[in-house]
Amino acid sequence: MIGARALRIEDRVLLRGAGRFAADTQRAGELHMRVVRSPIAHGRIVSIDGTEALRLDGVTAVWTYADIADLPAIGFRLTPREELLPYRQPVLARSIVRYVGEPVAVVFAESSYLAEDAAELVDLEIEPLPAHLDPDAEPVDWVDAEQASWAAGHGENLPAQDSEASVFTIGYGDVDAAFSSGEGRVFTMDARIGRHTGVPMECRGLVAVYDEAEGQLIVDGAAKVPFWNREAIAAMNGLTPSRVVVRETHVGGGFGPRGELYPEDVLVTVAAMRLRAPIKWIEDRQEHLMATNHSRGQHHRLRALVDDDGYIRALDASFTLDQGAYVRTHGATVASLTASMLPGPYVIDNFRVTAHVRLTHKTPAGTYRSPGRYEGTFARERLIDTIAHGLGLSREEVRRRNFIGREQMPYERPIEAMGTHMVHDSGDYALLFDKAAERFGFSTIREIVSRRRAAGERVGFGFGYFVEKSGIGPSEGARVVIDDAGGVTVICGASSVGQGVDTVLAQVVAEVLDVPHDTIRVVRGRTDQFQYGRGAFATRLAVMAGSAALNAATALRDKAFRVAAAELAVSVEQLRIRGGVVEVEGSEQGLSLGQIAGLLDPLRANDLKEEPGLSADGWFHTDHMTYPYGLHAALVRIDEATGRLEVERFMVAYDVGRALNPTLVEGQIAGGVAQGLGGALYEEFLYAPDGTPLCTTFMDYLIPTSAEVPDVETLVTEDAPSPLNPLGVKGAGEGGTTAVAAAIASAVDDALQQPGAIDAVPITPGTLHRLLHQTTTQHLTTKE
């Protein structure tokens, strides 16, 4: 069952339209919340007047900061660097607004239409201040001492802070000594990655009610990290965590932004407590594009010292990250991951990178699928191509000369990633290159490209290599329970953002108990059903929850064997499990799991010296991540006249150690590629000089459709199982995205026959037209 292309157990419900997404929860007497957002990127709030709004029949309340001034700023879930505290976001703007879309007031009304009407009647007077939009510009004053001290929230008085929230450097070896040795050649790369983000098809939403009968605050529509959010919501509302129930329903995509604790989420729960009514908030798409976390938005400057044979002796890097207006729950996660994953699959003797996290008057930024790796891989792989061109070596050769060798695994790089020591647990990077070249026919592709180019076509082939990370700990747990009728339930702390985790966990348990996976029910993302759960992020669940489910199912099987052995008067060694029945080898005797569950009623279990019920818990703990790796390759064609780029082929080779369900792994890769293509070619949040966002609809924020995304060719290999977990698995969630921009840029350079021409994404038709036209213009100029 593990490794089978099993059909998903989630699908029947979703296909029939019977799922329950955030907006599908309706409660009698509910009030609809509508957020009034700043139309100004930077300004001082003079007044907010809700009088007219309150005159509307059915409008219950209008809140501004004064109404919730007792609430602290929203805390960091990950990478909580101390120096970032003064930049945390208040639930409603205090006296200054810092981005268009910042919540300044909130309206509660009997219908969603009425709430929108009322929100439009809230009168805002905001005195505009200059907007600071360029993270590369010199830092400016950002928050005054009062705001800084308030946002930091630790009771100390802080001075005013500028827009550079954090600068940190990590590395190893001696970069300066290497560069001053006078040996080798120096290559530089200046690379920019545009601001874009996950944009799940379901906007955010939350429904909360205080259930007086139960004495609990019930929160529906959570995603990704319900357990962490429960703690935060409990603290914000002055409740103990056990009086808050956070439930994940169906989730319409995650990708990083969805499910984090945002100001709106806090407001929904606080309103449910204070207004004593069910509160429903469903974000609309325009709000989503200016209020939900943006991501990427980095500018890298790399400098490499390289031997004549292409071996990189030192890499000296710095980058700026456009953080937007506040630092939200991710803290310094993106900057930190960018820094530590920058060396990728290469040895690089000496390494140093400096991260600059800088605030701007734009939507705050957080993680998006392959955070830091998409950006860093683009910059690094562009550099490798530049080195290859400069030394007259092939792009493939330079990469091979720098790969960490199979014999060097596990390979420790003396830096940290997400607070763990960075150890590439297993891998054979050169082998995967060989396999990809053979499967996809790289030499044939090169020949075809030459032939078509000779015939006048603008075609190009390129690739990027990368290392991903997955399976961040520290812990995950699962409980397997079997009822008297033999029904199997897995209860766990995992979450699903739609990636198919239920199916994979069911497959793992089905393997151990030898039952059909589609008879298993999976309960997850509900804080009243399990005590701990870290969440659906960082491609961690196949590793963490998968291993926990394996351990739980194994413990349950052991328990079933003990009970069956006692009941049948045989030894445990004589037993085996087949089709959910514990059988005595070589005899007709056997007990179904349901019968064994029946033997474990409390009274009889006591006689058997077992805990009542056929259930078992399993845990999995780890203090290291696993490191999957892969290659992306692209064949592109550019239309000479219009600059339109067509991706004719996109190929991904990825080693995941062990594919628990190859169909789902391929699905993750194909979906990841589509998102990577968005960032490489179409998606970018642009701003007017005054900080007004220009991309707030799907007419100007362009998500690729089936007309733009080619069928992705995938090669999933299992050559390097992880030694760090019992399944040998590495996560598959992000590797489809990581090197898309790098591979496309490499292919476009090749098509243009202009090495190093592409140093920024997204690559627009305008850019390509200019690059194509530029050559012609220079040519004409020379002639004149």
């Binding site: 699908d11 990708f255 990636q499 995304v709």
Partner: protein
Amino acid sequence: MTRSTVPVRLYVNGDRYDIEVEPRRTLADALREDCSLTGTHLGCEHGVCGACTVLLDGQPVRACLMFAVQAEGASVRTVEGLAPDDETLHPVQKAFWEHHGLQCGFCTPGFLTLVAGYLEEHPQAEEDELRDVLSSNLCRCTGYQNIVTATMAAAEEMRG
């Protein structure tokens, strides 16, 4: 201020719904909230993403771009009305399941109604044509290729 409502009669999936709505109420909201058919999803509310696609007298339309009053007397088919019964899936639903044509499932109802509506009228449609039709809607999870594969498989099944 009281808002005036008007009576609207909708025929959805063969059932008659007599509802009272404000004239400005969208068809999508009326289906979801007044008819309790929450399978029709709202992904953008400006007619681009297609998650709210329903069949109006057999034609795929964006339910977010229509008022409920405009559907007065019309026959509406939503995702809930595709399968013939509780046990059987429509060929398009079955193909999406078998070919992993969905992940989070949020955009899925829109794709299913779009494809079912199109294939019922154009059973002979070829891949290029279907890919073009599919570009009407957005999916953020699958990268579309399994949706294309599923659509081709459904077309074949429906041709019989």
